[in-house]
Symmetry: C2
């Protein structure tokens, strides 16, 4: 099916500010609460939120096989479960309706009142009910940096890392949408000289600059997803801040992995940008040496060129860009991750979320966490207000941003933002 919605020459009859993340070529999907306290599935063009539940009721999706209440739900899980053909039909139809040459909704004031909202009138929700959330560890630079800092600089990359897209299960319950405050966690830390563990608010609170992809229902228990079929099972991507308490993590993580050091909060950007919208930004990934085992071999350009930024904004202060990274640095692609995740027969469901792990690039300003940027606090960052940061302070807001850009179009994700509140 042609991705007509990607046509870079298209313009919308809705206003799209210069440099917007949401031109008519994006058409992301999200869930919001309207001014009338109705929860609905929607999309966004420019700074206008569009109620797809209302559009469906008004007949704008006629001819596409959709259940009546598909968009009047508090999650995208059922829509995503309908599969890629349906996603494409709906996204193309939305593009057609909002094309500047299309009358219809454009010229129907009654319908416009029911369908269109300003961003101030709505409240973004979690877009999916996440059944399971998996976090990978797919940036070679990040794995090398963390191995150096937590273990042994001489053998920073463990022997399995170049063979396996290493991942682990995370916590679904504490995934929150952008804007939700994050409480500084309390926990145990390594014992001091008296041999008794420390206990109290984390002193080493960190962000992790990640992206996460959302799947449809891919396989029954006991079956696997071949790597060639992986991408058609990926609905789209969000920005993902995997908040981390480094002192809690360091004391607890051997041998079963991170737990309370990570599961107190993960913040996502609320609009899922479809893989289809990202198609023009496909690019090659890093060369993989040694060659992966056959079930992980993928010949096409398998990465996406998405600029990523991490920003610290102190209370009442200015934004400070502290990291510039890129999703293309991922050593293991999303397809490789999904093929690996299911090779043992583990079933993946609609709405499941898979994080990339921290995406660090090759240069020091491209590292995706404070742990790496300040090299565990040895090299504090200077902020524009004269203060410095080894890790994240109370009342700091951390913002992740991401966008793709070529000569024709810019596709972005909006903010993934969370303010740190003092420990209870």
């Amino acid at each position: 099916m042609p991705l007509t919605a990607n046509d870079p020459t298209r313009k919308s009859w809705l206003d799209v500010p210069a440099n917007s993340d949401f031109p008519i070529q994006n058409i992301p999907f999200g869930v919001f609460l309207t001014r009338d306290d109705v929860i609905t599935i929607g999309t966004r063009i420019g700074d206008t939120a569009i109620d797809l539940g209302a559009m469906h009721q008004l007949g704008y999706f006629k001819g596409i096989d959709l259940t009546d209440d598909l968009f009047l739900q508090d999650s995208l899980n059922d829509f995503i479960a309908d599969g890629r053909k349906t996603w494409r039909l709906v996204r193309n139809r939305i593009s057609d309706i909002f094309l500047h040459t299309s009358p219809g909704l454009r010229d129907d004031q009654e319908h416009r009142k029911k369908v269109l909202f300003s961003m101030e009138e709505i409240e973004m929700q979690l877009p999916v009910d996440v059944g399971d959330y998996t976090d990978f560890y797919a940036s070679k630079e990040h794995a090398t940096n963390v191995g150096s800092l937590f273990r042994d600089p001489e053998n920073a990359l463990l022997p399995n890392w170049l063979r396996i897209p290493i991942g682990y299960h995370g916590r679904s319950s504490s995934i929150v949408p952008s804007g939700t405050p994050v409480r500084r966690p309390i926990g145990q830390t390594k014992p001091g000289e008296d041999g008794i563990p420390g206990f109290g608010p984390s002193k080493l609170l960190d962000f992790e600059l990640e992206m996460a992809f959302i799947t449809t229902a891919t396989n029954d228990l006991g079956k696997r997803v071949p790597i060639e079929e992986a991408e058609e099972n990926i609905f789209g991507l969000v920005l993902f801040n995997d908040w981390s308490a480094r002192d809690i993590q360091a004391w607890e993580y051997v041998p079963l992995g991170p737990f309370l050091g990570k599961n107190f909060a993960s913040t996502i950007s609320p609009w899922i940008v479809t893989l289809d919208a990202l198609e023009p930004f496909r690019t090659a990934g890093p060369v993989q040496d040694p060659e992966p085992l056959p079930y992980l071999q993928q010949s096409d350009a398998k990465n996406f060129d998405i600029h990523l930024q991490a920003i610290i904004q102190p209370e009442n202060g200015a934004e400070n860009i502290v990291a510039n990274s890129n999703f293309k640095y991922m050593y293991w692609s999303m397809s490789q991750q999904l093929a690996h995740h299911t090779v043992n027969g583990c079933n993946v469901r609609s709405g499941d979320m898979m994080g990339s792990g921290t995406i660090s690039g090759p240069t020091k300003d491209s590292y995706g966490s404070m742990l790496e940027l300040t090299w565990r606090g040895q090299n504090p960052l200077q902020l524009s207000d004269g203060s410095e940061r080894k890790f994240i302070n109370d009342d700091d807001t951390v913002i992740l941003r991401g966008f793709c850009k070529n000569e024709d179009v810019r596709i972005g994700f909006g903010d993934c933002s969370g303010k740190v509140l003092p420990a209870n």
Copy 2:
């Protein structure tokens, strides 16, 4: 509220075979499909399944504040979210209705037809929609054995183990009810001399003898559950077989913990036995030295005396009891686990499941996995049909059983059973 349903002198007008796991003092909760293809919440006395949805429609829960469709659901999540007071009112009411001296349902043939089913007429389902599943590692004997086998016998128990109820996040999607076949997983294993990882069906497929508790919604994100309030948030327990592929696990688990070596299947017994029903079997746990940090200190008898068995049944063969363990061996109690899980503000929801980790006792016949029972295959087990087992073979069925017993009453869990199918 008095636990009248626990009265050991009570007898039911329903037949209860000698040595049944399900006397009128049990009254577990589950979800089943009836002969009429209706999904409902139910309980069980002896070998009779009882449709609580039908009973509610017929007015048997009058006077208890329940929503109309509370039992006509495909999971217990909403009922569990109603809290301990409701669980107790409902369980006591059921006990009263089925008490041998109670007419009413006993003498109403029309109602009995709507409410009562033989076990052959129903199909047990997963009792809860598991939002998040956490697995702990709470048996000192198991952690010591695994540390000896996987790492260093001289330092088998890691320094954090005696301080922290170590746990990690597991996979919710692959939790299946007893009776579901389990496909032998495929995956990568440690490289041989050529340096290339192995790939194929696991050669070291294992069971893990565990129990798991199910919670109500305990805390909002950022808050914690104090240890004194932990138990009132625990609805009940099931048997839990955390199937494990030791060769896949050994290659993948450093540094982020087990992943594909565990997430291909976990089998649970389908009836949740309430913590209330287990109250007569409360017992002290192991002495904890060093003293836990204050947020983990618990003065009462905090463990439960539940006999546990693991059984291997070869295709067309007899059952072989290969392990006799006990839930009371847990070093870290359920309350300590829940208090620890939430101390950082991680939110826990209704229907969440928390596994104990393998429960091994102090003697060699009480170890809860083949890894430990055969000491990684060094000492194969002899089965009654003359065959031997280092790990689990294709077509073997592994059954876990558990029960409590005193002079008056026996409370059990039914079977937690899964047959291993050859790899795809």
